[in-house]
């Protein structure tokens, strides 16, 4: 039986109830949000369940929404079921004051460096990670460069404000 987004959603909701939510399908890819406390349980379920069989962690990255109070930092997982060729995207959100998410290295070895990269750029601390240190930036760095409070452009420039980039809301920077 071919696996569809609908069956995946039903299985997840049946297993985790209210803790998985915000299901949507942008460009056909099933996306949902899980509570950050159960991220490992969901990943393990997706990996181990015989029907779901998401054995491949395609991608893991961070994202920062400064205006999303209490859930500023997100971790996005892309999983792939290679046999049925279906992908799923899972997000967990955490507080910027205490950015802590459980590590997925126990399930996917591939998560090791990707989590280090996310730690490096967003300062998200992956609890239980075997080697939680910076990977691309220098170790002496004491900030998280991909967070939105750090602008790319020199702030003395007035010709490139947010309005130029089509955004009315002036964000943290």
């Amino acid at each position: 039986m071919a696996l569809t987004n609908k069956t995946i959603q039903e299985k997840l909701q049946e297993k985790f109830g209210e803790q998985v939510y915000a299901f949507e399908e942008p460009y056909g890819l099933l996306t949902f949000v899980a509570d950050k406390d159960i991220n490992l349980k969901v990943l393990y379920f997706l990996h181990q369940d015989e029907e779901l069989n998401f054995v491949f962690l395609t991608d893991l990255c961070g994202v920062h929404y400064p205006n999303n109070k209490g859930k500023e930092l997100g971790v996005v997982y892309h999983l792939h079921n290679l046999e049925q060729n279906i992908r799923v995207r899972m997000k967990v959100f955490t507080d910027v004051e205490k950015p802590e998410v459980f590590t997925a290295t126990g399930i996917f070895m591939a998560a090791n460096w990707m989590e280090r990269e996310t730690f490096d750029f967003f300062g998200i601390n992956f609890l239980g990670h075997p080697n939680m240190k910076r990977i691309l930036n220098v170790e002496e760095m004491d900030y998280s460069p991909l967070r939105k409070e750090f602008p790319v452009e020199d702030q003395s420039r007035v010709d490139k404000d947010d309005e130029m980039f089509g955004r009315d809301v002036i964000r943290a920077f």
Partner: protein, 413 residues
Amino acid sequence: MSNKVSETQSNINLPVGSIEKTTTTINFGPIHPATHGVMQNIMELDGEKVVSAEQTIGYIHRAFEKIAERRPLYQITPLTDRLNYCSAPINNMGWHLTCEKLLGIKTPKRVDYLRIIIMELARIADHLICNSIMGNDAGGTTGFLYVMQFREDIYEIWEEVCGSRLTTNIGRIGGFERDFNDIAFRKLDKFLIEYPKCLAEFETLFTRNRIFMDRTKGIGGISAERALNYGFTGPNLRAAGVDYDVRAVDPYCSYEEFEFDVPVGTTGDVYDRFLVRNEEMKQSMRIIRQALEKLGNLKGEEATKYHADTPEYYLPPKDKVYTKIEELIWHFKIVMGESEIPAGEVYNAVEGGNGELGFYLISDGGRTPYRLHFRRPCFIFYQAFEELVKGSMISDVVMTMASLNLIAGEMDA
């Protein structure tokens, strides 16, 4: 690691405790001819055996993901060039396809076929470098020099198409900036006739070469299950026996119309990776021949159209910019980066030289991406390096490193 040599075991009479450390720590890189790029490996050796290896990367990190957050879509293409610079056009096309997916642009058939030609040439350029470097590291420079001429030929074809060679910035969102000229097609035909001969010669030099086989067989192997767990993709995963190829399972750019085989290995060792890459070059040429045939079969408007009708993102021809007001407006809007991107999030993957090259783009409706993440295959499978080389000799480390096709630019983004 340290162990004391007890008096009863030792042949030489040394005072007890005088030999504390029995391993040597060496630095492999960042500047070392065998790393083929700036990356560092700190290895602990017991004699010539590797006990542990720790990788340090990030020497050419250029913060592309951050820079991309302040650039309109078309200005991000040159950033993607610099990921895997051995096959820059695949990265360019992957980025264009991602944008087109987000914007909902449908490209004409001719664009798809031309893109496939460019991408497969890039794959050949990528694999021939990797395989010949592998031969070079095993001590045979001849093969490396033989095939290098054909990389030059490929670069010349790109030069005819877009004007540049290594970091190509080839194509635009919706198609190509200009049509292919006759010289490009003539050079392509010449390449398709001459390269198979060279490849055959290259294979006679290495494939059944006793020395090369001894150096590569059973070295740096990985099981299919471990490779999947480590996130391997591309030739390195296929060498381990998993037939996962993005072109076959998730066809983009009309790949579904083409006939090609996905070669797989069995043991995932250095030799299998070499064989898989060699076979993929042949399959790439098969795809290019089919694409040329399909191009010849196109009729009417389809046969000449080299870009989609997307005035918001595709620069109008210059003569119209100077004479027509509408084109002038579009030109300004595009160049100043004032084209709005619809809100949404999209993940798009193409089969790069090293495997699944993914682009994860989040747009909040502004003129630049809100967040852009590159899934770089190199970065992901290099973390398995310690497992691949543990217990092997230091000369095998060099071979394993060459066979993984580690590109520092892709690793560090």
